[in-house]
């Protein structure tokens, strides 16, 4: 029954090996890429640098003046290179936490917990994918384009933004050989009807046997509808407020539609990448 006796001082049977680490990372660069976004490059060797596309980190943001972030802030891996030991995040300076993050100077350290969560997958049958994102969602998707490239999967990136200044990481996508299509609010090309036409065209051209999206509820719903109609495999990277990032606190739940049933899942643990077919509006 209960086993208090043997429960005390026995040493661990297997030596412990971690899958994620709370790394004290050193800032190499922390620069503005446009008026709202900064790119931070960290020296974070070990497990951190093994992060895969779609995985994220939970970042301890510094206390600065009246900004006293208590929780860590989740951020997608913008780049991780196991060889150089470098990890990068592209982030929008929004509230207390990201304002604090933005103050970090070269040489300072920051604790990053990760890699966390389930990243993107490229099933065998998928040979040519469409990656569609908006805003900071593009940061999450850039490593996917590189992963696809390494696996010989063709990529078309449909990048949505308010105006030309808000289109992030075109170069990252182009460097992988991805075909890039930019749609903007400023010239009306980002409207749903036009985007739908683009997606249907790509599908007709045989360039869309996978849909991947992040950063916009509207675009996600569009892709989900088309994926359903056209029988395309799809994945979406989700956001939700987080505390632990490790599946422990259950604060980051969202509802998913699993075979017609509404199921609550933890974005940090079951995701942040989910089957597009299961996603519901947020």
């Amino acid at each position: 029954m209960r086993q208090p006796e043997n429960s005390a001082v026995t040493p661990p049977v297997d030596p412990f090996s971690a899958l994620a680490a709370d790394t004290s990372a050193r800032v190499l660069r922390n620069e503005w890429v446009n008026a709202e976004y900064k790119l931070i490059v960290l020296d974070a060797p070990g497990l951190a640098a093994s992060a895969e596309a779609g995985q994220f980190f939970n970042i301890e943001c510094p206390v600065v003046g009246e900004d006293k972030p208590f929780f860590r802030r989740p951020m997608s891996t913008y780049a991780a290179d196991a060889e150089t030991g470098q990890v990068e995040f592209l982030y929008k300076v929004a509230g207390a936490g990201t304002r604090g993050l933005a103050t970090l100077l070269d040489g300072q350290t920051v604790r990053i917990l990760g890699p966390l969560g389930v990243g993107f997958t490229l099933p065998e049958h998928v040979r040519s994918i469409v990656i569609m994102g908006r805003g900071v969602g593009l940061a999450t998707l850039a490593p996917l384009a590189e992963m696809a490239h390494r696996r010989g999967v063709a990529v078309t990136a449909v990048m949505s933004a308010r105006g030309p200044e808000q289109v992030l990481s075109v170069d990252r996508f182009e460097a992988t050989g991805a075909a890039v299509e930019i749609v903007l609010d400023s010239d009306g090309t980002s409207d749903l009807a036009n985007v739908e036409a683009i997606l249907r065209r790509l599908h007709a051209q045989g360039r869309a046997d996978g849909f991947y999206t992040c950063g916009s509820n509207r675009l996600m719903l569009l892709m989900k509808r088309l994926a359903g109609e056209l029988g395309i495999y799809g994945e979406v990277a989700m956001e939700q407020q987080m505390a632990c990032g490790l599946g422990m606190c259950f604060c980051c739940v969202r509802n998913f539609d699993v075979d017609g049933e509404t199921v609550s899942k933890r974005v940090c643990w079951d995701g942040p990448v989910f089957p597009l077919a299961e996603a519901t509006s947020w």
Binding site: Q3, P4, S7, D22, F70, F71, C244, G247, M248, C249
Partner: protein, 313 residues
Amino acid sequence: MVDLSVDLGRGLILANPVMPASGTFAEGLARVIDLNGIGALVTKTITEELRGGNLTPRVAEVSNGMLNSIGIPSKGITYFLEHTLPFYRQFTAPLIVSISAPTVDAFARAAARLNVPGIAGIEANISCPNIEEDGKAFAMRPGTTEQAVSAMREVTDLPLWAKLTPNTGDIAAVARAAEKAGADAVVVANTILAMSIDIETMRPTLGNVMGGLSGPAFKPIALRMTYQCARAVNIPVIGCGGIATANDAVEYLLAGAAAVQVGTATFTRPNAMNEVIAGLTEYCRRKGFNRVTDLQAALNAEMLIPDVMEAAQ
């Protein structure tokens, strides 16, 4: 060598007095730290039946702490025994399962189902609403506490802890009721009911309007309650509330706690429990304590005056 082991009664001896607080720990932590270093493992509260939990947002930041209104999403005891328990069986640290129920009988039914290998003890989260008493939490009153604990005591020989709520006027009386009803220890305390409002949206920050405060801001209150309970009962008191460092844990042990639980701190520093354990050893060594249990009697009490509820005013 400092002896960190603690005896929590009914044969349950922990290698050290540090464990997670229910609801702030799950399988995920094993990805980051070695769970075998921890004194015990305590699960998120489970219920017999399936439950969904509360509306989002479920957490909010406040000054040096957090609010949560997670609720108790639960896949039920059957799921737990089949899918979760096997995971914890790989660790040497004893497993304490936290349970909750809406009625006295349901508490007993839940407790009875945990007499299975791999479960070292039960923590009864009686800080939850009692639907037979207007939704007031069992642990708000001595009477309902005694009923719930007695009912569980009758059906289990496992170590049985009662987790108390700070949302009561006289926690020492509640602790005495738990002791009388046969609890092997009391855990002091669950979160204290609190609220915050986003003044831009003019909405409560939590979907549930109110939620529980935890973290450093809560520590002085939970420490006071631990002290009051430790003086009121002869069973071990497990201190919980805002412990983030070894120094915090030392305060609780000096206040009379036999062991401590680390909650919110693990969210911001996943290695917090290990740091507390290491720091406790170091403190004992520096202060010349051979056993961590010696701290329990070390509070310098020469000027202690009688315990007045309203010392503050």
